[in-house]
Amino acid sequence: MANAWLYDGRSGTRHDVAVAAGADGLLLHFADGRVEEVAAASLFHATDRDGALVYGRSGREGWRLGLLPPVPADVAAMLPAERRYGSWIDRVGLVPALAALLLASGAVLGAGYLLPGALAPHIPASWEKRYGDAIVGDFGGKFCRGPGGAEALQKLARRLSPGYADFDIRVVDVPMVNAAALPGNHIVIFRELIAEADTPDELAGVLAHEIAHVRRRHVTEGMIRELGVGLVITALGGTTGGNADMILGSRYGRAAEAEADADAIAALRAANISPLGTARFFTRMGATERKLGRLGAAFSYLSTHPLSDARRAKFRASFDPNRRYTPALGRDEWEAIFNICFNDPAKRAARGQPRALPPAAR
């Protein structure tokens, strides 16, 4: 016999009972002599409190039996196992469960890392185009349309990517030093990036980098990652899942950036454009970042294109001193791009007069 208390779940009255093992269940002996048999199979471990092991009974809401130690072996043998971490984790044990779950989540993250790359080539270009057009639209009327600018950008793109230059390259009248490849072959260059570039060679490196993102379908991969895998992991996993996804995303981003840089270097070489311009641009951006501090640079080129010495060195190392490079664009074409927002009649009122080219281009 074990001493126990009982709540029947119908009223708050507490009954003291003595518990014995029956044929296939527990026999509860009440103080008034009543005996009730409870099938062992209907019992489940609920909790433990005040030193008592507390059991519930399926189908009887609020029914609780608190067994006070010592519990005789024949009664203990009828009791269900204790609940701790959750059903199957209790069965296999904590350490094996941790190991198995670690493997499983590693596999999920691995799939999240590899899946976008595998799926991207199978996304029809027309879908991506429609999605990209819907997102970009006319950028709220912020495209700069100075005469000759679009043609000059297109010419540079054809030189950097012969045979495939189906890009919509736009300069946007937004005061940011940045450039981005968007879904549907859209490449946008923000106004201040053009202003920061001293020569067309500097712009060529940045443009070649964005073209590589488009041609390698990094944009499509990024879209799948954000919308598909990232969303599922973040939604299900809350903060922890979000953190894992963020680390994964930044790893993924670094890999894509390195790939785009390698392509850009190759494209500059094939087009016979000096890579020193790009290296110089990176150096100047690094100096600006140090001047503004990290906070000021949060929205600039470097926030989306993290700059490392290794990155700059790669461009510089690809320079061949014995080669005769040609400028990326002629002076008139470069001026058309440089002043694309200033020569635009629609923007002139806000922007003021066109500016003189920086000395390096003269």
Partner: protein
């Protein structure tokens, strides 16, 4: 007051059968007897399992934490019991997400496209509709979370709950939020106490309904203080900083002074809002009764300050690991300051007939709102 390790817990030798209990007989009706050494293994294994499941275990972790905290919470002659499960919370969350995600996706991309294409009226209309819907759902989530927690809390084998689904409460909460905005926040003490009364009056435990009759009396002064702090303090602190601080726009010193100004302001607002919320909870819980029981909450601003200061110190000193103790600290704080007076007739404390909540806290965990 009872200390953390429950040293003053009376001997536990229940008589054979109860007819009734007077919770106030033995001093405070509520006691928390948990210890951090007991909770640590629970918290650490929860953390480990949450990490290796990329966060999905958090629902089961919450259930385990509550099962422990409730089991160490004594009311009168027995402890509470938490019967909610991780699985039901997970399923509740999935159901809510299945509704919310398409809505959020549609909004995110639709809004972006409308804005970029210059359809201002449509974009702003959509934004307004979105926020109206959001605030309605937050009200609903608050109500549902409270109902769920009561329906999974047992004492003497009896649980709480509500027969109301909260639709009306959510509409009322939305209306009062709008009213607060339109009156520039001046009605906040009124809307907060009214909503407290509205949601608690729809809850019950066993056969007994909760009754809440909180008023804004005594809250307005502290609310005005909180309301006026930024108005008075920003020019004052900024002026002082300029008088004392070094010259020069974005110099190192200038940034440091700006940082100090923001920090002082932040601390000031934190202190004043602590004072307001401390009084709000004393008033609100003090005006709440459950059947024959009158409730009271004794935490003063200084108690809240110690709780929050201690939590911050714990988190900083443990480099963040102390975060796993936040639920423990909050619950123990809540119970240590909760009091009840009155008699309960246990034979008359019959099982609740309120419908069991099936949606768990899905909506609340989707919006990250608390219950009380």
């Amino acid at each position: 007051m009872i200390d953390d390790n429950g040293a003053s817990a009376p001997e536990h030798s229940p008589p054979s059968s109860y007819d009734g209990v007077s919770p106030s007989d033995g001093g405070t009706a509520f006691r928390f007897t948990g210890t951090w050494t007991e909770y640590l293994p629970i918290a650490l294994t929860n953390l480990a399992l949450t990490i290796v499941t990329l966060g999905i275990y958090r629902f089961w972790a919450t259930a385990r934490t509550r099962r422990y905290l409730w089991s160490r919470t004594h009311f009168a002659d027995d402890t509470l019991e938490w019967t909610g499960t991780g699985l039901e919370m997970f399923i509740g969350f999935l159901i809510v997400m299945a509704f919310l995600i398409p809505f959020l996706l549609f909004f995110q991309f639709g809004f972006q496209a409308l804005l970029l294409r210059g359809h201002w009226a449509l974009a702003i209309g959509g934004l307004v509709a979105f926020y109206v819907g959001l605030f309605y759902l937050i009200g609903l989530a608050t109500f549902r979370a409270l109902r769920y927690r009561l329906s999974r809390t047992y004492w003497h084998g009896i649980r709480g709950g509500s027969d109301d689904a909260g639709w009306g409460y959510a509409a009322s909460a939305l209306g009062k939020t709008l009213l607060s905005v339109l009156t520039l926040g001046l009605l906040v003490p009124w809307t907060m106490t009214r909503l407290w009364n509205e949601r608690w009056s729809k809850m019950s435990f066993g056969p007994h309904p909760f009754r809440a009759a909180a008023t804004q009396r005594g809250l307005i002064g502290r609310w005005l203080l909180l309301y006026l702090t930024p108005v008075i303090a920003i020019p004052l602190v900024a002026g002082l900083a300029f008088a004392v601080g070094p010259r020069g726009g974005m110099s190192e010193g200038g940034i440091l002074v700006a940082f100090a100004v923001v920090l002082v302001l932040y601390l000031l607002i934190l202190l004043v809002s602590l004072a307001y919320y401390a009084k709000f909870y004393r008033r609100a819980i003090g005006a709440t009764a459950l059947g024959p029981l009158d409730l009271a909450f004794t935490a003063r601003s200084s108690d809240w300050l110690r709780l929050i200061g201690g939590t911050i110190a714990l988190i900083v000193l443990t480099l963040g690991i102390g975060l796993i103790f936040v639920p423990y600290r909050n619950w123990s704080f809540f119970i240590r300051h909760l009091e009840a007076t009155g008699d309960i007739d246990l034979d008359m404390l019959t099982q609740s007939t309120a419908r069991g909540a099936t949606d768990a806290e899905g909506l609340a965990s989707a919006f990250d709102v608390g219950a009380i």
